[in-house]
């Protein structure tokens, strides 16, 4: 461990630190310091820096001067907010978070609501309701118990099963009893004791088996240590000018510009994550607390410039005041990754090489996806949530059985259902796209559709069903009628709309050209494929191996010539094989046939040396992208 730094940098307020010193502050700490320095409204807090981790782990104690400095910083926080730790009227609650210099899952992550105890419970109940107070107390006891005091999670699960689940007070008392039983002591009733134990637990978790496993896996040095970030909590559930939300600075499903996210009035963060109540969108937020919305809007360009990327923002509004809790590069779908990278190039935030570097290989192929012809006239039937990206058009089936029948007859199908049950899966497989009346982006329909690369629109308001037909806000559709859906925008249109390859966007062509120059296996045009290839196609599965001899032997033989053949979205692979292009010279020993599910299963491709990729009849984009992302010696 590095020697302990001077006391002056052991404990730093968020306004005192240097945002660039990530090795001292840890990633989380540095990010909060940076946001404060950019003038963004971040709740006040402090960082106990990484050298203290080493000090604690080697001696088993937090040095007295360090704890004194923490107390002093807490005094400043109390001053800034007009709340005090342990106060019976305006209690201060704190969050405690780990934060290593590099992304390091496996450590104790977060403890929220430090400072709830018998003394402060009445004040919290008075401002936010008794149920919230007891639930939050329960959450603290459970989180604290499992992460600080090593009480096994199942112990709390059993306690909850035994208590009366509807009575929040009895659950809290059951949790307190479980804590007492498993630790032999009472849950700490003084906030400073809770805080100190939490801080020490963060440092100890640097050496947890899970953290060590991750360090081994990722090749991270054990010497780095973690910082601890202590921050004031703000309350989103106090009144009708309070709430909590998540915002992306661009649409994480499509990459389209514009704020996108959820907001829940009069709620804390955990309520949103639990997903029990449907959040509203940000337009609603704008109407409910306009001044706070302006605060969010103002933060967007600041953050995108600071990260030169799309960001996801967690925020809370307390009595009309906007607070920014966390910001980081936002997660995004494959579609969005492509669009955002190219948009950032246009906006001069990154250059093309950096943009290509940022698009993950499994996302690159999304640029080949067909879209609904933007020039075709259209009638909007309804809108829902964009649950799984892509476009599809076909005949409506109202049941899985009907979907399969229509598909067997050779029609493209769109499965339209109130919601999804496990016995609908065969219908999903038969369909080109999915529509559900209920459920959101985390619904089973959405998870299943994404897992099979089927476009899906979920949660279509006003969609109703009767025998043999369904009624959208924009019109009635009989089973068998044609509709078109856009899973990236959530729109549903009447009639069949043509699907076209994406326009010749010069930026996309530039990206493809970059792929062409960097690929290491050739793109081939093949003549007639050997007859054994046709004979051995199997009916189901995503990537199918076909070989004249045993597939296992072929996989092991280094001299076997292997190629990948893109089948695109073909329903009938046998028919497709007849369309593959001009003559070639390669004597092929093994074919890997890649069909329309492959982007999600790309990691299940066997790690083999590939001799080439054959373009399918829909064009050569997939082949060129695959050739760029697959290592000659192994999987992408």
């Amino acid at each position: 461990m590095p020697p302990a730094a001077q006391n002056a940098t052991d404990v730093l307020g968020l306004d005192e630190a240097d945002a660039d010193d990530v090795s001292l502050l840890g990633g989380k700490g540095a990010s909060l310091v940076r946001m404060r320095s950019l003038g963004l409204p971040v709740p006040p807090g402090l960082v106990i820096t990484t050298p203290v981790c080493g000090e604690y782990l080697s001696t088993g104690h937090l040095p007295e001067p360090v704890w004194d400095a923490v107390i002093e910083q807490l005094g400043r926080i109390e001053g800034e907010l007009g709340r005090r730790l342990g106060d019976a009227e305006r209690p201060l609650l704190l969050s405690v978070r780990s934060g290593a210099p590099v992304s390091m899952p496996g450590m104790m992550d977060t403890i929220l609501d430090i400072g709830i105890c018998d003394a402060t419970l009445p004040a919290i109940a008075a401002s936010a309701g008794a149920a919230f107070a007891w639930e939050t107390y329960s959450r603290l006891v459970r989180m604290f118990g499992t992460t600080v005091a090593d009480v096994p999670g199942p112990a709390f699960e059993v306690a909850r099963l035994e208590a009366h689940a509807d009575d929040t007070q009895s659950v809290a008392q059951a949790y307190l009893a479980a804590f007492r039983t498993h630790t032999g002591r009472e849950f700490p009733s003084r906030p400073v004791d809770q805080l100190k134990e939490a801080v020490e637990a963060v440092f100890r978790s640097w050496r947890s088996p899970r953290a060590e496993r991750y360090r081994t896996y990722a090749g991270i040095s054990a010497e780095l240590g973690t910082a601890v970030v202590i921050q004031a909590m703000v309350f989103g559930n106090l009144d009708d000018r309070s709430g909590t939300g998540v915002a992306f600075t661009r649409d994480p499903a499509t990459g389209a510009p514009g704020l996108y996210g959820d907001f829940l009035l009069k709620a804390q963060g955990e309520d949103v994550v639990a997903g029990e109540v449907d959040p509203s969108d940000l337009d609603t937020f704008r109407r409910q607390v306009p001044a706070a919305y302006d605060g969010l809007l103002a933060a967007v360009p600041v953050l995108e410039r600071a990260y030169s990327d799309m960001c996801d923002i967690e925020f809370t509004v307390e009595q009309g005041r906007f607070w920014l809790l966390q910001a980081r590069r936002g997660q995004r779908t494959a579609h969005a990754a492509v669009r955002i990278a190219l948009d950032l190039v246009d906006e001069n935030l990154v250059d093309l090489d950096e943009a290509v570097r940022r698009i993950p290989p499994s996302s690159l192929v999304r640029i080949r996806d067909a879209v609904l012809d933007p020039n075709a006239p259209r009638t909007l039937l309804g809108r829902g949530l964009n649950a799984s990206p892509g476009a599809a058009t076909g005949r409506v089936a109202l049941s899985a059985a009907r979907a399969e029948e229509l598909a067997e007859e050779g029609h493209p199908v769109i499965l339209v259902r109130p919601y999804t049950s496990p016995d609908d899966i065969a219908g999903f497989i038969a369909a080109r796209g999915i529509v559900t009346a209920h459920g959101g982006r985390t619904s089973h329909a959405a998870v299943v559709a994404r897992g099979m690369d089927r476009p899906a629109v979920c949660g279509v308001d006003g969609l109703e069903f009767t025998e043999g037909r369904c009624t959208f806000p924009g019109g009635e559709i009989q089973e068998g009628d044609e509709i078109a859906i856009d899973g990236s925008t959530g729109e549903i249109f009447a009639g069949r709309l043509p699907l076209v390859a994406p326009r010749d966007d010069p930026r996309v062509l530039a990206l493809l050209a970059r792929c062409d120059s960097s690929r290491r296996i050739p793109v081939l045009a093949m003549g007639e494929l050997p007859s054994w290839a046709d004979a051995q196609l199997s009916a189901a599965g995503t990537a199918r191996c076909s070989s004249p001899a045993s597939v296992e032997d072929a996989l092991d033989d280094p001299d076997v010539v292997r190629i990948l053949l893109d089948l695109g979205d073909a329903d009938d692979p046998r028919g497709l094989l007849k369309h593959v292009g001009a003559t070639g010279e390669l004597e092929v020993d093994l074919l890997l046939l890649v069909d329309d599910c492959w982007p999600t299963s790309v990691r299940s491709l066997p790690a083999l040396p590939w001799s080439g990729v054959v373009a399918g009849p829909q064009g050569d984009w997939t082949a060129r992208l695959l050739a760029a992302v697959i290592e000659p010696g192994g999987r992408p």
Partner: protein, 200 residues
């Protein structure tokens, strides 16, 4: 389990899955291959199930009569189970349901971020440990529910061993597939429906 009991279990499994092959049926019912073959033969003879060979999906499915037969038998079966206790355990299951769906969505979104994927797998392990308590309790009341814990654990282990399909892929018995099925099984056993409950 006697032959009648197994016949119902198989019929119920087909009802749950829509179209299901022999291998998942073995896992779902815990039967021996011989006993399963016998049950399948009986149900086929009764005209309750048939075998379909689709272009993409093959397996056993309910006939129209089979659907009716299942509904009758389910009612009779439920009447013999400790439904009130099962309902309490189901409430505990629901506590984890939203978290599981969010975690699956998060997994699908972080496809290329190794650290985030690692964390998601760890989080799945934590959820599995906590939810395991619920399935054990459920299994004490109704044997079939006890099997879900093992099937979920098997999926989790495959994910940990590097087979990422087993987190959410609908094409295999992934964690999400089995969880989804378990939830449906609870709903059928308790006579509830997703629309009333609002859990999609």
């Amino acid at each position: 389990m006697n032959a009648d009991g197994l016949d119902f279990e198989v019929l119920h499994a087909v009802r749950l899955r829509g179209v299901v092959g022999l291998e998942p049926l073995l896992a779902m019912t815990g039967a021996t291959p011989e006993a399963l073959d016998a049950a399948v033969a009986t149900l086929t003879e009764q005209g309750a199930i048939f075998e379909r060979q689709g272009r993409r999906v093959s397996g056993f499915a309910l006939t129209a009569d089979g659907r009716g037969l299942h509904a009758e038998q389910l009612t009779a079966w439920s009447a013999r189970q400790p439904i009130a206790e099962l309902a309490r355990v189901y409430d505990a299951f629901l506590n984890h349901n939203s978290a599981l769906k969010s975690l699956c969505s998060r997994w699908q979104r972080v496809a290329d971020d190794e650290a985030a994927k690692w964390q998601a797998i760890e989080d799945l392990g934590d959820l599995h440990e906590d939810a395991g308590v619920v399935f054990v309790r459920a299994g004490d009341l109704v044997a079939r529910f006890g099997r879900y814990a093992a099937r979920l654990g098997a999926a989790l282990q495959l994910v940990r061993d590097g087979d990422e399909l087993y987190f959410t892929s609908p094409l295999v018995d992934s964690y999400h597939t089995v969880w989804f099925e378990a939830h449906e099984d609870f709903l059928l056993a308790l006579g509830r429906d997703r629309a009333t409950e609002g859990s999609f």
